[in-house]
Symmetry: C2
Subunit: 250 residues, 2 copies
C-alpha cells in the first residue's frame, strides 16, 4: 500500500459560502476524514485504536490556501505522516484538483492518548512501532509549521456562545471543526467580500462541553492578521479556562 | 434513465452526534444533494435553471426517521418527483441501507421562481413540460405530508441569534439546513439522551440575511411535540417578520 493516501471529494453546493467557494470548516472536516481513511486503511485508525483503549487527539492544525475549491469542483486530498515522535505524529495534507493544480496545504499534529487515563501514550507501542513503516519525509509541504500562537494580552472579548447540541461530536466534546467555524463567524460577510483568508491555524488546549459558555477574545497583531483565544466557562463553577488559540492571516 | 435517482452516502464520523448517530441537519443536506443530483441528471437542475433565470426554492421539508444511520454506515437516498403542479413539485426521499432496511423517509415541496422578479414561475414552461416525464406516482412514501404548522400564540421567545458568515450559502441567505440545526440546538444533550427525534417538519416563509437577528419562539403542543416559529429582525429597521415554522415530534 502506498504511504500517501489520496481521496476524492466534491465541493458540495451547501458547503460553499456566499461567494461559491468552500467554507474552510468543511474543507477542514474533509482533511480529518482523509486522515481517518488513511490511518484506518493502514491499521492505526480510530476504530482499531478504540479496541486497545487508545485514541488520536488533534493537537494542531494549520491550513494555507492559494484558492478554495468552488461549488461542484472535484478535488483531491493527499495525506501522509511526515514524522512521529514518542507521543506526537505530524500529518500533512495537499489539496489539489488531481491534475496538477494545487489549492493549498495543511499541517497537523496529533497526540496519542490512553482513553481511560486521558494521558499521552506511546505511539511506538502500537504494533511494534508500525508507524515507522508509513513515514514519508521527502514529500514537500511548503507551508510554515503551526507554532505557538503568541498574544500580547490586549485581546478583547468579542463574543460569547453557549455550547449547543450540534457542536458536540461522538467524543462528547465540541468538534474540532466547530471551533474553526465559530471563530470564522467573528467576521461578517462584508469583511469576507473584501478579504480572502490565506492561512488559518489552531492549537487545541482543552475541550469544551455541553453546559460551557465559550468566550472569544480577539486581538489584531498585524495588518490583516488576527489571533483569537477561545475560553470555556463552566456555568456551575464559573471557572474560565483556555480551550484553543487561533491565528488568521487574510 | 430511471425516474428514481439513487445515491450512496456514508455517515461521516464528524457528521454524527454524541450518540454516534447522524445529525438530522447533515442528513437533510444529503437529501438536498440527492435532489440536486437527480434534477441535474434529468435536465432540470439548478445549474441549467440559472441559465434561464429560474431556480428551485425549497418550500417545505418533512423528515421522519425510524432510525438514524450510525457512524460509518453506508446509506442510500432514493429520490423521485411524486407530482407537479403549476409552480410546485412534490419530491420524496427514501433513506435505506440499500439492502432492504429502511431508515426513514422525507417529503419536500419545491417552488420554481424567476430569479429576476423573485415571483413564482410555471414549471411546465420548462422544456415543454418535461417534468411530466419524471413523475413517479406509484412509489410509496408512507409518512404524513407536511401541513401548515399551527400554533396557538402561546409560544415563548427562547433564543435570539445573529445570522453569521457560516449560515449564509451561495444564494446569499441563510441555508435551509442551518435553520434546522439552530432549531435542534434549542434542546440540549440531556434531552437528546432521553428522547429520539421521530419527525421534523419545516415550512419556509421568507429568507434571513446577514445582519438579521433570528428569534426562536417555541410552544409545546402535545406530549413530546413542539412547534418553533423563527423570525428575523432587521437590525436597522427593527421590523420582525416570520422566516419559517417547524414541528418536532420526539
Amino acid at each position: 500500500m502506498n504511504k500517501i493516501g489520496k481521496y476524492e471529494f466534491i465541493a458540495e453546493p451547501f458547503h460553499c459560502d456566499f461567494s461559491g467557494r468552500m467554507f474552510l470548516g468543511h474543507l477542514g472536516n474533509q482533511m480529518l476524514n482523509a486522515a481517518d481513511f488513511h490511518s484506518t486503511d493502514r491499521g492505526f485508525g480510530m476504530k482499531y485504536l478504540m479496541t486497545i483503549k487508545r485514541s488520536w487527539v488533534l493537537s494542531r492544525l494549520a491550513i494555507e490556501m492559494e484558492e478554495m475549491p468552488a461549488q461542484y469542483d472535484h478535488f483531491t486530498i493527499e495525506t501522509w505522516v511526515e514524522s512521529a515522535m514518542k507521543i506526537f505524529t505530524s500529518r500533512n495534507f495537499c489539496v489539489s484538483d488531481g491534475q496538477g493544480k494545487v489549492y493549498g496545504y495543511g499541517r497537523s499534529i496529533w497526540a496519542m492518548i490512553d482513553t481511560e487515563t486521558r494521558q499521552p501514550s506511546d505511539i511506538y507501542a502500537i504494533d511494534n512501532g508500525a508507524i515507522n513503516d508509513w513515514i514519508v519525509d521527502d514529500k514537500p509541504c511548503p507551508i510554515e509549521k503551526g507554532g505557538r500562537v503568541k498574544m500580547s494580552g490586549n485581546d478583547e472579548l468579542v463574543r460569547s456562545l453557549d455550547v449547543n447540541y450540534n457542536d458536540i461530536d461522538i467524543n462528547g466534546h465540541v468538534n474540532s471543526v466547530k471551533y474553526i467555524e465559530h471563530v470564522l463567524d467573528l467576521w461578517d460577510i462584508a469583511w469576507y467580500r473584501e478579504h480572502r483568508l490565506k492561512r488559518f491555524e489552531i492549537a487545541y488546549v482543552a475541550e469544551a462541553h455541553q453546559g460551557d459558555k465559550m468566550g472569544f477574545y480577539r486581538e489584531q497583531i498585524a495588518d490583516n492578521e488576527y489571533c483569537v483565544r477561545l475560553t470555556k466557562t463552566d456555568l456551575l463553577l464559573q471557572k474560565e479556562t483556555e480551550v484553543c488559540r487561533c491565528r488568521l492571516v487574510f
